[in-house]
């Protein structure tokens, strides 16, 4: 990507406004910066969307323009200027002249440690690859198997074109446009994302993953994911990728909606490793995500997340346990190092009888980072025999970081049983000594202890992810010993 200086920007703006006017530019690949109703309409037009979708977006934009940015989170950052962002850019094309030699050696070293294949390395670092034989073939075979089962798995843009009835029915039903500042923004300007529908009684035979989906490349900063599991179905969905992604986008505001109909089960795993900023805390991605799932009778939603990247994370995957006997689970590891800030947690809203929820959150802070758990467990008056168990453990490494816990517990039913416990501690000197004594150096010992600390959550990840996530933890904490 060529550097874009302020002067260029000024020039571009001037020329666009005065010489050609705004609309002539619709056909180009990147929109001028700024956000107004015309831009929202233009995005919709560009994507060739039906009228209801355009109206939906415009409505969301109107709601957003009246909202204020939330400030309650325990994070400090310079607020992004929403008028200084371009809200549509065509998928980035790989630069054909770039070779692996031009890629940041630090990035390559990380790839090496994660054990990522050369082809994938090229793809991830934006180097043109002639034929990605593996991925393409894998993707095609996947598509075939899924089609046979009647599973729809495509980009959300495609779904709006081909399955409008499903999208129309479910989009915004869990995270409404009015939900919060970033959700409203996302609803207005989302450019792509994934859509998945599992038909009645179907058990998805493989882990669905954005990683394997070719058209995923460069979906931009406003992703929208909609996942519907019809009655009695099962799906395990993986999002993100363990390899570090040096995306230039400063702001990511994604929305994920999960709908688990009666007797279905959704397992949603995330590994997030966006650019965390450099060691001085410069740069890095702001990750402001709204994720929520709805459980009908006997349904189950399980969120698993490993958060190691982003300069600022603001993310609360939640479950609305609407149906009787529904189950919500949340397993999280959040690692912050250097100047990273994470404010993450979950909400478990118990509405149905006998609903159950489990929260296991592990926070690891190192360097000068701040790591917060913020969660809500709410038992409504009609949720008879609701049960919740929460455990939030924090591990502190070094005396300049912080670990915070902000749980909210609201019980309105006498049959509710709620347990919450939280601990904060550091790695014991005796534990390190024990390892040293047996010939394990301090850095390895810490990795070992951190792994043990995170085991409960790592165990919940799908196999292939778990191994990489484990390595990722080691890398994220590298150099934090001392």
């Amino acid at each position: 990507m060529s550097k874009f200086t302020e002067d260029d920007l000024k020039k571009e703006l001037e020329t666009k406004e005065y010489e050609y006017g705004f609309y002539t530019d619709i056909e180009s690949d990147t929109f001028p910066i700024g956000l107004n109703e015309d831009v929202v309409r233009a995005i919709s037009k560009k994507k060739n969307e039906p009228e209801w979708m355009t109206d939906w977006r415009v409505d969301a934009f109107r709601i957003w323009s009246e909202m204020e940015e939330p400030e309650w989170a325990n994070v400090n950052y310079t607020k992004p200027d929403f008028q200084a962002i371009s809200y549509y850019s065509a998928p980035k094309k790989a630069d054909p002249n770039k070779s692996l030699d031009d890629v940041d050696p630090e990035l390559l070293a990380t790839f090496e440690k994660l054990g990522i294949s050369l082809d994938e390395q090229k793809k991830l670092s934006g180097v043109a690859v002639d034929v990605v034989v593996d991925s393409v073939s894998v993707a095609t075979t996947f598509k075939k198997t899924l089609n046979e089962k009647g599973i729809i798995f495509c980009s959300i843009s495609e779904a709006i074109q081909e399955h409008p009835e499903l999208v129309k029915k479910y989009i915004g039903s869990i995270v409404p446009k009015t939900d919060n500042f970033y959700a409203a923004l996302n609803s207005a300007v989302f450019t792509d994302g994934s859509f998945c529908y599992i038909p009645k009684g179907v058990r998805c035979p493989m882990e669905l993953s954005t990683y394997f989906r070719i058209n995923q490349g460069g979906t931009g900063q406003f992703e929208r994911t909609l996942l519907v599991a019809d009655q009695g179905s099962y799906v395990s969905y993986l999002e993100g990728c363990t390899a570090p992604s040096r995306d230039e986008n400063q702001l990511h505001a994604a929305v994920v909606e999960l709908i688990a109909l009666d007797d279905s089960e959704i397992k949603y795993s995330t590994v997030q490793n966006w650019f965390p900023g450099n060691k001085e805390g410069k740069g890095g991605v702001f990750n402001f995500v709204t994720k929520r799932g709805l459980c009908e009778t006997n349904a189950k939603i399980s969120w698993t997340q490993v958060e190691t990247g982003s300069a600022v994370t603001w993310k609360y995957p939640s479950c609305i346990l609407k149906g009787a006997n529904s189950v919500g689970e949340f397993y999280s590891i959040a690692v912050t190092n250097n100047y990273q800030q994470a404010d993450t947690g979950t909400k478990m809203i118990h509405l149905g009888k006998n609903s159950k929820s489990t929260i296991i959150s592990k926070g690891i802070s190192a360097g000068k980072s701040q790591n917060s758990y913020r969660g809500l467990v709410q038992i409504s008056p009609r949720a008879e025999n609701a049960r919740n168990f929460s455990q939030c453990d924090s591990l502190l490494m070094g005396n300049e970081c912080g670990a915070h816990t902000f749980p909210y517990i609201e019980a309105k039913n006498k049959t509710a049983i709620i347990e919450h416990e939280a601990t904060t501690s550091k790695i014991g000197e005796d534990q390190i000594f024990y390892c040293n004594q047996r010939g394990i150096d301090t850095e390895k010992a810490i990795a070992l202890i951190v792994n043990g600390f995170s085991k409960e959550v790592l165990n919940k990840l799908p196999m292939e992810f778990a191994v990489e996530a484990q390595k990722l933890l080691e890398i994220s904490l590298e150099g934090s010993v001392g």
Binding site: L396, T405, P407, A411, T415, E421, S425
Partner: protein, 437 residues
């Protein structure tokens, strides 16, 4: 007229009755300005998310007592712990009652805030400590602006107060709804010791809104034991703001027994400014009806090697609401801190609500901090066990509740007070379990 406007405009009338030349008055004027800016707290404030004062501040309170009322000791005897030899500071509608009080003291000072603020011999202490520990918000600023009466307790170095001190506030309601703003200052110099029992009691059916501020200062090795008994009528609202500053090796404990009152809000703040400090915060809350109790605690660990222990038990029946909002802050310098926080609740009715928010904010790595929170019910099998052995359901339930609250009850060091609290609980549960706990 809104209560806020009424308060602000009545400040002129208030000035006519106090010494406007003293430096204390400058503090009042500043505080009034702050109150004008803050106003009464609303649910929009994070710290007041679960407690609304709207139903209280819409009442038309008289701000200054119109006439002095005399009470006969025999009529109010039951509110004293009369079998306990103690100092007594009694206020009726915010005015000191020398008739009911017993403050003859030696070596220590047990007197009135009004004298402390006006007499020269108290000036050295007032200058150093008055309005220094309190952190400003709408309610404390309001109190500071109108503060002129309350208890002033000063324990000099190396002295232990010879007997406990009872501070009792009566509201008679003869003027209709009344607002009271007592202001207490408790200073314990190095190696001193004191025990204090505080109670607010409304004697009528009229509304009472008490906005109390207590500042406590504990010097090196000082011991303060503070008991708050809150068993007021359901027309009384209490906002209690207590601020404690502790120095090396001091031990301060505040025990709050909340059994009644329309809305009770306890803001309990501990600032640890030394090493080897222990802060203890205990509470038992047993509520029914439409009562609401909010415990809002803060412990700030600023120096290494300190401890804090919080233990709050709550039992909620009928339409009562309980809130626990505890915060522990461990600053970067405060290595080797041990901080514990536990909040256990029992819900007895479907209309009762518990909101709990135990928070930890930790900036130091070599610490042991934990918090736990539970919400549940009485154990059915334990009830069955007792009933099968001939204990009636009501008594069996009461026994379980006693057992549940026992950790905190045991921490009461004055036997007479313990008996009194047990009696209040027994009355509340309508049982006579026939033995002392």
């Amino acid at each position: 007229m809104e209560l806020k406007e009424k308060l602000v405009s009545s400040f002129l009338a208030f000035e006519a009755n106090v010494d406007t030349t003293s430096p204390i008055h400058d503090i009042r004027i500043e505080a009034l300005k702050s109150f004008e800016a803050y106003g009464f707290p609303t649910k929009k404030l994070e710290a007041w998310k679960y407690t609304s004062l709207n139903s209280v501040i819409k009442n038309d309170f008289s701000i200054f007592p119109k006439k002095e009322i005399a009470l006969e000791f025999k009529d109010v005897k039951k509110y004293f712990i009369s079998d306990l030899d103690s100092y007594k500071i009694v206020f009726i509608d915010g005015v000191y009652s020398s008739h009911l009080s017993e403050t003859t003291h030696d070596k220590i000072d047990v007197c009135l805030m009004s004298s402390a603020l006006s007499q020269n011999r108290f000036k050295p202490v007032i200058d150093v400590y008055y309005n220094t520990v309190v952190k400003e918000d709408g309610m404390t600023a309001l109190n500071t602006a109108f503060a002129k009466e309350g208890a002033y307790i000063y324990i000099p170095k190396n002295i232990a107060a010879d007997k406990p001190i009872q501070i009792i506030h009566f509201a008679t309601g003869v003027d209709g709804a009344a607002m009271l703003q007592p202001r207490n200052l408790i200073v314990c110099e190095d190696n001193s010791e004191v025990t204090i029992i505080e109670r607010h009691q409304n004697l009528s059916e009229n509304k009472v809104f008490t906005n109390s501020v207590t500042e406590m200062y504990a010097g090196n090795n000082a011991h303060i034991d503070y008991y708050k008994i809150q068993n007021d009528t359901d027309t009384s609202c209490l906002v209690d703001n207590t601020f404690t500053e502790q120095h090396n090796n001091s031990v301060c404990s505040v025990h709050t027994f909340a059994f009644g009152g329309d809305i009770t809000r306890n803001n309990l703040n501990f600032y640890q400014k030394g090493q080897g400090i222990d802060s203890i915060l205990n509470g038992v809350t047993i509520l029914e009806g439409k009562t609401h109790v909010d415990h809002n605690t803060l412990v700030e660990h600023q120096e290494p090697n300190c401890e804090s222990h919080q233990d709050y038990k709550g039992i909620f029946d009928e339409k009562s609401t309980g809130v626990f909002n505890g915060k522990i802050i461990v600053e970067q310098e405060a290595q080797k801190t041990n901080a514990f926080q536990s909040n256990n609740n029992i819900l007895l009715s479907d209309k009762a609500t518990v909101n709990s928010k135990p928070q930890l904010e930790i900036f130091a790595d070599d610490v042991k901090c934990s918090h736990g929170c539970t919400i549940g019910q009485l154990d059915e099998s334990a009830l069955f066990y007792m009933r099968s052995r001939g204990i009636a359901t009501k008594e069996a339930k009461a026994l379980l509740m006693y057992a549940f609250a026992n950790n905190v009850l045991e921490s009461v060091k004055i036997p007479q007070l313990k008996t009194r609290i047990n009696k209040i609980i027994a009355d509340k549960l309508g049982v006579n379990i026939g033995f002392d706990l």
